[in-house]
């Protein structure tokens, strides 16, 4: 055997490593049934419990239809967020065992590590959210094919955003416990104050402000607009163009921040 590597131009590889890291995320997920059950089952159970339990207890201000119906897009957002969280914990696990070290000593661009992880986790998140769409009739919802297609597009945007956020946080964490702490401190409030469970129009003023600056609010609004086939989400009074703009901007920002973090650590280590 002789080193053919010597003949290859010495640049870091991007797309093939991105693809293989992405594929590995999906393969290992499908082989861990517990993760599938956790990511789809938990939001489904909570949605049915709260949506069903509060079915007739609340009539939300400015919201038509049942509570189960109202929280359906919110449950989709929850699935996307939970999957992102579970997937990004593996960033820390991979680093603790030798898997990530094996990637870091290969001639792989740091961007491939970010993109592979984020794309893989986003594919998983969207896949599970699509499965969840099958439960829409339980809430009396019967979306048209076009609405479902547009909703899947919205899910992709939202998934990339939350997975990018997850990577950005996880890459800098030393332990999974630290990640859980951030999850409870930041990610869960982001979901709670996204308009997934109650409309912004009926919230106290300070909560309303927090909801307005929460990027998840626009993601949930985008899901409501696309799923309901309406131009404006009545619960948040956010137009779909604003919802799409903020969601795309958030996703792009999170991916860029993840790329910068993954590369900056390289430079810090080089000092």
């Amino acid at each position: 055997m002789h080193a053919e590597g010597s003949d290859v131009i010495a640049t870091d590889l991007l797309w093939l490593p991105t693809w293989t890291l992405c594929k590995r995320e999906i393969t290992r997920f499908l082989r861990q049934r517990g993760r599938i059950v956790g990511a789809v089952g938990t939001p489904l159970i909570f949605w049915l419990m709260f949506g069903g339990g509060l079915y007739k207890s609340f009539q939300l201000d400015g919201v038509e239809g049942s509570y189960l119906e109202f929280t359906f897009p919110g449950a989709i957002a929850a699935i996307l967020l939970f999957t992102a969280i579970f997937s990004m914990i593996t960033v820390i696990d991979d680093r603790d065992n030798g898997f990530m070290q094996g990637v870091l000593v290969a001639p792989v661009s740091r961007a491939a590590i970010v993109l592979g992880k984020v794309m893989g986790a986003s594919a998983l998140a969207v896949g599970q959210a699509v499965v969840f769409l099958l439960f829409a009739p339980l809430a009396g919802l019967r979306p048209g094919v076009a609405d479902v297609v547009v909703t899947i597009g919205a899910m992709v945007v939202l998934a990339v955003g939350v997975c990018g956020l997850g990577f950005w946080i996880a890459w800098r964490m030393e332990t999974t416990q630290g990640f859980h702490a951030i999850m409870n401190l930041v990610l869960m409030p982001m979901l709670a104050l996204s308009g997934a469970f109650f409309p912004i129009t009926g919230a106290a003023r300070i909560v309303g402000w927090l909801m307005t600056i929460n990027p998840m609010t626009y993601g949930v609004a985008l899901l409501r607009c696309s799923f309901g086939g309406v131009a404006e989400d009545t619960a948040s009074r956010i137009h779909w163009t604003l919802a799409l703009g903020v969601s795309v901007g958030f996703a792009a920002l999170m991916v860029v921040l993840s790329l910068i973090t993954a590369r900056r650590e390289a430079r810090q280590a080089a000092v």
Partner: protein, 319 residues
């Protein structure tokens, strides 16, 4: 023969602690080279610098003429790294792991498949290719790790404590495979180890202690520096016995873990004298050729500690 690794004045600090102090050494192409040292000696830090995972504060290291800091992409194509902690995904099969790894090096298609077949054959795991890694024994996993790093045909294989966690049979098997890999390729193999018998198997050994390179040479060269044999004594109250032996001008007697050792050019006479003088306090006396353990004690003046956990190896660094 040219050198594949050339290290000059290499130093590394974790904060204020000097983990590597002005290391200079070279590794000949095609050889099997051991970095021998106790935990905390700096060998793992040295390994991580060669693996392009840490950047030294001072000095240079080149692999095949490429600087490990400035030309790390070129270096990464030329090295294959086996870490102490397993780098295979246990949820994937052996072949899936290898395919994944090949992709990381830009390999694909039929070429990759052929390389996977060859690498698995080299470590006799061809019949396990479809099995999930979690179903393999520790020894097989380590061999699969070696197959993984052979795919891109590295010029330099670097293994960090490769037999950690393996039973003696699996260790012997691993070294048999390493020998075979080296014989069938032009690859240079560099191993960090704290095990003397593993270092003895290598062409050359560099002994590390407390961040310094103590000495480099072939195992025979190093042992010949002792210039004689070693008498090892076991018995009760070794501390007092050592003091008495020194006082009687038979020493110096160096204290090992549960024994005393004396270097001498006339072992038979010394043994007879010791038995005559201290016979009732000695439970066992053996005469042996020097080992690398003796070399370590001879060169550093203290015992080779293997029990304490390395702090340097716990340090994390990413690039």
């Amino acid at each position: 023969m040219s050198n594949i690794v050339a290290v000059n004045g290499l130093s590394f600090r974790y904060g204020d602690r000097l983990a590597l102090d002005d290391i200079s050494l070279s590794v000949t192409r095609g050889s099997m080279f051991a970095l021998l040292g106790p935990n905390g000696s700096g060998k793992t830090t040295f390994f991580r610098i060669l693996a392009t995972l840490l950047t030294p504060q001072d000095g240079t290291a080149t692999i095949d003429g490429f600087d490990v800091v400035k030309d790390c992409a070129a270096v990464r194509r030329r090295i294959g790294i086996v870490f102490q902690s397993p780098s295979l995904d246990i949820h994937l099969s052996v072949a899936e792991n290898l395919r994944h790894s090949g992709h990381l090096y830009g390999l694909r298609g039929g070429d990759l498949q052929q390389r996977i077949d060859a690498a698995l054959a080299a470590v006799t795991l061809a019949d396990r290719r479809g099995e999930r890694v979690k179903a393999l024994s520790g020894g097989m996993r380590r061999r699969a790790e070696i197959a993984r790093v052979l795919l891109h045909r590295p010029q330099l294989l670097i293994l960090d404590e490769p037999s950690t966690g393996l039973d003696p049979a699996a260790r012997a098997e691993l070294w048999r495979h390493l020998g075979r890999v080296q014989a069938e390729s032009d690859a240079t193999i560099l191993v960090t180890t704290h095990l003397m018998d593993e270092a003895e198997r290598c062409d050359r050994v560099a002994i590390f202690d407390r961040g310094k390179l103590v000495i480099t040479g072939t195992p025979d060269e190093l042992k010949s520096r002792i210039g004689g044999d070693c008498v090892t004594i076991r018995g009760g109250d070794l501390k007092q016995l050592a003091a008495d032996i020194d006082a009687a001008n038979f020493g110096p007697a160096r204290a090992l873990d549960k024994a005393l050792r004396i270097e001498t050019t006339s072992a038979t006479k010394l043994a007879a004298d010791l038995m005559q003088r201290f016979g009732e306090r000695i439970s066992e006396l053996t005469i042996g050729r020097p080992t690398l353990d003796d070399v370590f004690i001879h060169e550093t003046g203290h015992v080779f500690e293997t029990s304490s956990e390395s702090t340097s190896s716990k340090q994390k660094g990413r690039r």
